[in-house]
């Protein structure tokens, strides 16, 4: 099995990392990125026009594909989510490396991005983080908060395998209880202010 990364355009350009103007800029950016993240797998560099990126995903920000042994797309995760990828990979291996496994996952899996994605725009600089905030409804701030709370959130947000169903149920119940309590507190506060 081959694990390959394709380096795309600058998603969050800023004062520290500008948009690419030449392939040499982009290649240097890929070399720097691979070293900073200590990525052990090959990092391929797409051309300046993003030909491969566009051919596969029409330019999605963070897509992932599994390609089977015959060259067909087996799985397409539009927003990379390791637990879903793991399920797809296990299914593909169980099929002997051929056929569609899981298929298309178009769920916007943003939690992992918020918890472990701050390094990206931070590399771009302050303007990159600010534009991420303004352009994606506070995503820059959310990823900063997620980064700070990484140790607390990573057991849920950065899992490589799916959560067991009982744990999902408990988390869902906890979320509902938290929302009800928060709503009740807001109502009490409004009444008290009146």
């Amino acid at each position: 099995m081959r694990f390959l990364d394709v380096f795309i355009h600058q998603a969050h350009p800023g004062g520290l990392r500008h948009h690419y103007e030449t392939f040499e800029d982009k290649l240097a950016g890929a070399v720097e990125y691979k070293a900073e993240e200590a990525l052990p797998w090959p990092m391929l560099v797409d051309d300046l026009a993003g030909t491969t990126h566009n051919a596969y995903s029409n330019g999605m920000a963070d897509p992932v594909f599994l390609i089977d042994t015959t060259g067909l797309v087996s799985f397409y995760g539009m927003w990379t989510h390791p637990p879903t990828l793991r399920v797809a990979l296990d299914e593909l291996l169980a099929r002997g490396g051929q056929g569609v496994a899981v298929g298309l996952d178009r769920t916007p899996h943003l939690l992992a991005s918020f918890v472990d994605g701050y390094r990206g725009p931070r590399r771009g600089g302050r303007r990159a983080v600010l534009e991420y905030d303004l352009g994606a409804f506070g995503a820059g701030s959310l990823s900063f908060i997620g980064h700070k709370a990484k140790r607390l959130l990573s057991p849920v947000a950065l899992r490589s395998t799916p959560l067991p169903p009982p744990t999902r149920l408990r988390l869902l119940l906890g979320l509902v209880v938290t929302l009800v309590l928060a709503g009740s507190l807001i109502v009490l506060a409004v009444r008290w202010l009146d």
Binding site: R2, L4, Y20, T52, N58, V73, V100, Y132
Partner: protein, 72 residues
């Protein structure tokens, strides 16, 4: 009117991240844009950071996990 190659290059390598870029991803998500499972994976022949050339057709017979990502 179709964009010129220069316009497409500038649009892809944008200088600022705006709301339209985020909304474009949301739109693509709704449309399921990209190569659908069951379809042939487009071939590529790209250079790696180590200077090697890697093509998908050269990996036939192996499972390939292909991720696309940005430095920022």
């Amino acid at each position: 009117m179709a964009k010129s190659a220069d316009d497409q290059l500038r649009a892809y390598n944008y200088e600022h991240f705006w709301l339209k870029h985020f909304l474009a991803d949301i739109g693509r998500t709704f449309r399921g844009a990209g190569v659908r499972p069951g379809s042939p994976a487009p071939d590529f022949d790209l250079v790696s950071t180590e200077g090697d050339r890697v093509s998908l057709s050269g990996l036939r017979g192996e499972i390939v996990l292909l991720h696309f990502g940005s430095g920022t």
